[in-house]
Subunit: 358 residues, 2 copies
């Protein structure tokens, strides 16, 4: 068990936003809440998944919805705690810990807030190693664990439990419909996981990894070094493209933020263009029409000077950006993994090709 | 407690279809299932609400959705029994009896089937005295009883419980969204009611009333008398219009069947036209542009020869129909009742005016 301090949460916000690969929501408001809770003496505790007993019960949480809406309707972290309580009432059992479904963006921070409200730790692990937009895009789904039950709540006092589903896509359909009716944002507690399931299927250490990544960026900034080089070194990534955002198309539809953006090359990329597609997260990058990076590998759009991540809801004309790609968790590169999160899962008619292939 | 026999269920199907005021779904398939269950020796038992203990728990059930879809996707009555079981699992308590939320149409018969599957009786009462399309259009909602929880299931094995809502319209919105995602049809168990609540707020005796109405129609047919006159006598109704259906506009949208139909006058109504609006049920009748009957009073479109009801999903060009109006339950004529089920609740910009006013 480890207690997080002020510098940890600052680093976590920077690192999780990069790992969000455009989605997961901006962590800024969650960071403000974490700062306040820490200042008030709250304990933010992180638990190594290896320390879980096999029959411990872990609440897997996230804010579901369209990132743009999350910017407009601030999330009270007590709402996620409420989603966990609704699940406890449904199960008639208490949780040992909380866990983020995705380390990316705000959803890498919110579980810490919920855990603090509930007086339990957050597990140092997630089920994506990044952010993905849909329910079945998790290691748990790839592992064919049960998709149900799921609790979902909104700030008006509306609460529901999806108690059983035919399959993972049905969980996505049903929970997304409820989320859309709530206003395209909902606090959710996904199917509870046992300690054994977390140890077998979760991606361990991703909160620590996001903190380390954020620290590397902060250290580079403090040393007037290149923060993007620091990201690439920390995550064994590849630089794809640098330029200026010249086009953004964005629509909030069926509970998602979808669209595309275009980058006009600068420096060594002058004369070229990079097209980016997104569904909450960046899903495909194509240089002059040729796909050069794709899901499940992490396409990250960073501010060229600060290395700060830019989200699909905050990308805008004129930003100077550097686009990089980071490796995906190995489980997602298997045949079953790619069926859940490969390019075809996002409607791109492409076989997966790694940006790290020779 | 009373056991229903073969002639009871035949009469119930005819009577409930008339009281459905165009909606509640055609009872034909439910009748076929009831016939089979009876032939197999199942007990169909009806319980007087006065026989309920105050703390008995009653499951209030219906098939929710668009009547046209219900014609296309047959309902297995075990699905409603499953919705009741999901609610029992959620509550951790067993039900004493089942009750229809609406006596109108198929939904007046399905609860008897579910009750037979579950081995418990059906209460001789409902919460509408007819059929209405939305969750908050019940005596329970007018009485400001709790709208939650509600369980909803589909034949694929998808199941959800709406555990809490801000108010009745939110229950309608959320449950309708889930229903729409299920394919515009769902088996639902509404908020459980205590025996005390049923005795205070339900409309008592409506199953018996529907059976008596059906018997009156069957007796008139057997005697070569006018079945429509028999309906008017049994329910103290008024004849509005007779003619031929000459126009039907129908769309299945947001979980409802909506549209309008036009009747061209015949006989003493020759030269006049009657326009009918519907949202699952007939909501408004206007003669040559002048409203002459409206919700919550029961507008019933009957086959001019047989007195058989015609539903909003079965009305079609060329049918010879007689349109009648039957009185509404008194609770719906109060100011609070009209707020829930008056013409404005269906988007008609009209003050309620009774078709029985002098």
């Amino acid at each position: 068990m480890r207690r997080l301090g002020p510098s940890d949460i600052e680093a976590l916000a920077t690192g999780a936003w990069i790992l969000g690969t455009g989605g997961g929501g901006s962590p800024y408001h969650a960071l403000l809440e974490l700062r306040r809770l820490l200042a008030q003496g709250a304990e933010i505790r992180v638990l190594d998944p290896a320390a879980l007993a096999d029959d411990d019960l872990v609440a897997v949480v996230s804010i579901q919805g369209a990132p743009l809406v999350i910017q407009e309707r601030l999330v009270d972290s007590r709402l996620i705690a409420r989603a966990v309580r609704v699940m406890e009432e449904h199960l008639g059992r208490r949780f040992r810990a909380v866990m983020p479904v995705e380390i990316g963006g705000m959803n890498g921070l919110q579980p810490l807030l919920a855990a603090a409200h509930l007086g339990i730790p957050a597990v140092d692990a997630d089920a994506m190693g990044r952010a993905f937009p849909e329910a079945q895009m998790t290691t748990f789904a790839v592992g064919a664990l049960s998709p149900a039950p799921l609790s979902t709540v909104d700030p008006r006092g509306n609460e529901a439990v999806v108690t059983r589903v035919a399959d993972w896509p049905w969980m996505e359909r049903l929970s997304r419909r409820i989320c859309t009716e709530f206003g395209s944002i909902a606090a959710t507690c996904k199917a509870p996981r046992t300690g054994a399931e977390v140890k077998r299927w979760a991606i361990a250490g991703t909160t620590s990894r996001a903190i380390a990544l954020g620290r590397a960026v902060h250290a580079a900034r403090a040393a007037h070094a290149d923060p993007i080089a620091a990201v690439l070194a920390a995550e064994r990534g590849r630089r794809l493209f640098a330029g200026k955002i010249v086009e953004v198309e964005r629509r909030t539809t069926t509970g998602f933020l979808r669209g595309r953006a275009e980058v006009e090359g600068l420096g060594e990329d002058r004369g070229a263009r990079l097209a980016l597609a997104f569904q909450n997260e960046w899903t495909l990058a194509a240089r002059d029409g040729e796909p050069c990076a794709m899901t499940p590998e992490l396409i990250c759009v960073l501010d060229s000077d600060s290395g700060e991540a830019i989200g699909t809801e905050t990308v805008r004309y004129g930003q100077r950006v550097t686009v990089i790609v980071l490796p995906a968790a190995e489980i997602f590169l298997t045949e079953r993994g790619l069926a859940h999160v490969g390019p075809r899962a996002f409607g791109h008619d492409l076989d997966f090709r790694s940006a790290f292939a020779a």
